[in-house]
Subunit: 364 residues, 2 copies
Amino acid sequence: MSTIINESSKPSCLVIGAGGVGVITTYSLFNAGLSEVSLVVRSDYEHVKQNGYSIESCDYGSISNWRPHHLFKTAHDAAQSGRFFDYIVVTVKNIPDGPKSGTVHEIVRPVVESNHQIDASRITSIMLIQNGLDIEKELLEHFDQNCYKLALLSGVQLIGSTKVGPGKVVQISADRLSVAPFDAVDEIAIERTKLFATMYNNEGHNEVKYENNVKYIRWRKLLYNAVINTTTALTQVDSARCQMLSRESNSTENCLWIPAMKEVIAIAASEGVTIDPKEMEFFLVLAKTFVYKPSMCIDYEKGQLMELEVILGNPLRIARKNGVSAPTLFVIYHLMTILQGKIKERQGIIRFNEKTIKVESVLE
Amino acid sequence: MSTIINESSKPSCLVIGAGGVGVITTYSLFNAGLSEVSLVVRSDYEHVKQNGYSIESCDYGSISNWRPHHLFKTAHDAAQSGRFFDYIVVTVKNIPDGPKSGTVHEIVRPVVESNHQIDASRITSIMLIQNGLDIEKELLEHFDQNCYKLALLSGVQLIGSTKVGPGKVVQISADRLSVAPFDAVDEIAIERTKLFATMYNNEGHNEVKYENNVKYIRWRKLLYNAVINTTTALTQVDSARCQMLSRESNSTENCLWIPAMKEVIAIAASEGVTIDPKEMEFFLVLAKTFVYKPSMCIDYEKGQLMELEVILGNPLRIARKNGVSAPTLFVIYHLMTILQGKIKERQGIIRFNEKTIKVESVLE
């Protein structure tokens, strides 16, 4: 991490997404002291403006009344602040099949536009700290990368952190962030990613690692997310019960998880990404030994849309394109889309007409 | 239906299972007037003894204060009544993986034993009006058929009937019962089945059909039960939503139901049972056009054990034995066993120890 940052030219970071993970991400940037840090806080805005955050963190200890340098209620407000944001750090969930207003390109749009108006020659880096595959493609479809001078950066985070109340966050497992440029030969993105790693590093507190191979990191994490996260959501149990409550105490592992993980490895291989099958063991042990409900299970139980398409839909589309058989993931995916549809109906995003037996679109 | 029954020698029938289906079954036997009909009523016993049943039936109209000839609180009480029951008609759910006290052989045991003591030379017919495959095997494992003089009869029923309150039943769709001997060359069972059909027949009200091929009838019904019943339970929606809430409005049908039905057909074929693929359409239309939650979905939502092993476990064991590939049913089954395990935990049949991450058996 050799990049030097002058006090006078500190990069400006805007974090969008103030959930359990977003707040720790923001604090990590703030605490390192190498950037000016803003945060978009939607629902908690008034509370945090008045009281700041109260954080219990395994990485940083007890923190109270903490605020980043700037707070905004919306990305629109941030855009209208007149500031140029060198980094837009996105920590919201990635739900391309949800309402348009919640898609990543719509979330960052006001800031990308205002940056462009303020200084059309300056680079805007967008760091997506999100799960799943092909998440950068949505941005490339909606913005001309050259015109907007975008550098697209990937962040894959292992962390256990939860917002437990207004302005209150509890972090129970250490923050380990892998960063990489989405395009491995984009020199500007490489440089921006390395700078981000420097800005994010809090020696002795968190771990940040610059990676060359963004694809490997993302595919490897799918061993857990496409397989264990999804099955716990379908059965609405913690991962240990998902294993132990099955017919025999190892049939979930043998009949669902291992076959599905092998399918992930096969699809990754068809994209030139080699995952050692030994990697499965790490996630299997994690799943079997913790009474822990992963994100999709929690989202489903809370009636929130799940990151289904980026975690499982996109890998399966790659499997189809490359002619890779993935029968286990295929069935899990199609069952999950029904759960996702239920949430959409409950949220009023779609309406199911019981008379005509038809789905009617409601929101755009 | 040429069998003649003399008033003086009316067969005696004991129906075990007074749910929505069992009560209509009992009424059908009673109304035909060709047998002496007893019913085991567990939870509603006092209510029904005092007030009788109140039934709204699409087959029989409005009926109030109706009681069969005899009521018993338990099968034990029936056994101790000193009566010989020519027919034991079982209409409870078939849950071989639940508590031992709820398995079919344990349910019928007191009556089979008392029949044997009363007259060891007289035939006891056991009519299983239940879903699934290989359900007679459990009885043959636990009773010596010759010693107890058992005739095993199969009933597959299409009916929509629900117990809506104590002693109150609403039947919304017509009763169509297919009966057959489990063993197609057992002359006594054939004769007893034909007699049952005669006793059950209510001309102009219900339909009862003697079939030669019990296997065909049971496999055909699995097109619905192993496929649509299970997927609605996994997603906890009615069958129309199960189809329409998926990613595309036909992806449940194309990616789950049709592949799974083809697997049922292939497994049946490996047992010498030919199901015309055109039969799929009947059940697909039924599923797509009715906002109806099938039994397993209802059972899961009520926290009751599902007929998973007879509906899906047994067909998959046959698939494995015969080397038939059934990847869709396989994944659905293993997900369903986790749901079944959750119900067992909630009912206290098993206990999951979160400290040791082990399942402990509680009830036998």
